[in-house]
């Protein structure tokens, strides 16, 4: 296991300067994520345009992996529709949990998370933001169906 593989420059950069950080005031939905084992907490806000994420922001306290993963996720999903996001999450999850998985070019900067698979204890740090995003999207779906 190589530390440099986990803490790549992209990860360290997004940890130091997380993108899309801070509340989204005109959000359609939000969800809170909490990892009780390590105390990581984050909130994800989304504004939707039909099935598409028009804007997304997050805020929270967590380790470098969790913060960078959330930051990279917001960049990656902005403008994408729900189906594409679901497919993307499947890809990311495979990348995080399979050491032999190689990063597909379509993952873009998310490929920087590949090193996480060598550190099984840290996988949940990287997936917290995705679970939280899914919860926010589910909630927005609920809101649509109840209308």
């Amino acid at each position: 296991m190589d530390l440099k593989d986990l803490y790549r420059d992209v990860i360290l950069d997004h940890n130091r300067k997380p993108r899309n950080f801070g509340a989204l005031t005109d959000a359609d939905a939000q969800a809170d994520g909490h990892n009780p084992l390590c105390g990581d907490r984050l909130t994800v806000w989304v504004r939707l345009d039909g099935q598409r994420i028009a804007d997304i922001r997050f805020e929270g306290k967590g380790c470098a992996i969790s913060t960078a993963s959330a930051s990279l996720m917001t960049e990656a999903v902005k403008g994408k529709d729900k189906a594409a996001i679901k497919a993307l999450y499947e890809q990311v999850h495979t990348l995080l949990t399979h050491q032999e998985a190689s990063a597909d070019a379509s993952l873009g900067k998310l490929a920087a998370l590949a090193g996480v698979s060598e550190f099984p204890a840290r996988v949940k740090c990287a997936t917290l933001c995705w679970h939280t995003l899914n919860a926010a999207l589910d909630r927005s779906a609920d809101a649509v169906t109840t209308e």
Partner: protein, 414 residues
């Protein structure tokens, strides 16, 4: 736990380390530096051998058969109880109940003493530095019985605010439950003073000694506590075995909390009568080999000398504290005047979880997280800390390895 006095004989930590086979391994290409004894201590060969000897020569069920093995097992188990009695200087083995660990000991008192006796208007007093094991069982009892939970706060150093504790100790207080040593901060709590105050006010006292027993001699008669709970695995013994000491008069009055075999005298479908102390509280086949291992751990620790071990750990704590205080960006969480060998800290710009991973890659095992003390983290307004804790087998070289690995973390996150 007494203050450490001057050491007479030199303490050979390298020799002690050699007694622990698990420590002679490489982790991630580096020699293992184990700094997580506050979570669980490792076992010396003497404990492993005692358990093996029991399992290969003496095992059967206790308190039953007339055959040789059953008698050998009973002797081993009850001999372990006598060993624990001496370790705690309790009056009688009737006061020594074997449980799974400190957590179960506390739950036993909560369910068997507090639940049937306490009600609305009664209060249980704990402190702000408790482990979840000394919070949640009382919250459950409060829900069940209608009594209230009060919390004496801690200050910025991580010491219990004794003034506030004394104010909260009123005629309504039925029980004070307090840690002897904080697992998250290392604070040694002045439990004797709290016990005296509680008793003058008519309250009983349970001491959670999980973190205290490995770091100094505990004398329950000298302390005057009503209950004292601890776990075997933090004392270099096996997991799944622990002890609840309770004053005989109190245990006598308490109903059993689990029913089953071994805890009864007679059973009929109309009514059962219960066994005498301490077996009244030990339903079912106990963890016999665990008790044997725990007794061996006590023998081992006393052969090193509890005072000598404590003095050695204090030297390591002082050295590590001085080194970490010099490192820019490090903040030590828990700066009580009297601490056991537990050092909690944060590194600016580096989450404790990242720190734990980086240190692990250097072979240095520390604990990161909230240490089952979320209210302590909330008090200091941090999500988590990194915690290095020292045991009888740690050396000055281990402290240096910690410092070097922290330097590496600062490089990565610099």
């Amino acid at each position: 736990m007494n203050a450490v006095s001057a050491v007479t004989a030199p303490y050979d930590a390298e020799r002690v380390r050699a007694d622990f086979p698990i420590l002679a391994q490489q982790v991630n290409g580096h020699p293992l530096i184990y700094l997580d004894s506050a979570a669980s201590g490792q076992r010396p060969l003497a404990v492993l051998r005692a358990v093996e000897r029991y399992e290969t020569h003496h095992h059967s069920n206790v308190h039953r058969g007339v055959h040789a093995l059953s008698q050998a097992a009973t002797e081993a188990f009850e001999g372990a109880r006598e060993r624990v009695r001496r370790f705690l200087n309790a009056r009688s083995t009737r006061e020594i109940v074997f449980v799974r660990g400190a957590t179960e000991g506390i739950n036993l008192v909560a369910q068997s003493l507090a639940r049937p006796r306490f009600g609305p208007g009664d209060e249980i007093l704990i402190t702000g530095l408790e482990h979840h094991a000394n919070i949640v069982p009382w919250q459950m009892v409060c829900e069940q019985s209608g009594c209230a939970l009060k919390v004496a706060p801690i200050d910025r150093r991580g010491e219990v605010d004794i003034g506030r504790l004394l104010e909260l100790l009123t005629a309504r207080t039925r029980l004070v439950a307090v840690a002897h040593v904080s697992n998250a901060l290392g604070t040694i709590v002045p439990v004797k003073r709290i016990i005296e105050a509680a008793h003058s006010s008519g309250a009983l006292v349970l001491v959670d000694g999980a973190q205290a027993v490995p770091h100094g001699a505990v004398d329950v008669r000298e302390l005057g506590c009503d209950f004292y709970a601890f776990s075997g695995h933090k004392l270099y013994g096996p997991t799944g075995i622990g002890v609840l000491f309770g004053r005989e008069e109190l245990l006598e009055e308490m109903p059993p909390w689990q029913g089953g075999g071994d805890m009864i005298r007679t059973v009929s479908f109309e009514k059962s009568t219960y066994n005498e102390l301490p077996w009244k509280f030990e339903a079912g086949t106990p963890n016999i080999s665990g008790a044997v291992g725990l007794a061996a751990a006590m023998d081992y620790l006393e052969s090193l000398g509890l005072e000598a071990v404590a003095a050695h750990e204090q030297r390591l704590l002082a050295l590590a504290t001085a080194e970490l205080e010099r490192m820019p960006g490090i903040e030590i969480i828990g700066t009580a005047a009297h601490k056991a060998a537990v050092l909690s800290f944060t590194l600016r710009g580096c989450h404790p979880h990242d720190l734990g991973t980086i240190l692990d890659s250097e072979g240095v095992a520390i604990r990161t997280g909230h240490h089952c003390a979320m209210p302590v983290m909330t008090f200091f307004d941090i999500p988590a800390t990194a915690r290095a804790s020292f045991g009888c087998y740690n050396t000055e070289a281990d402290v240096r390895a910690l410092v070097t690995a922290l330097g590496k973390a600062r490089e990565v996150f610099g």
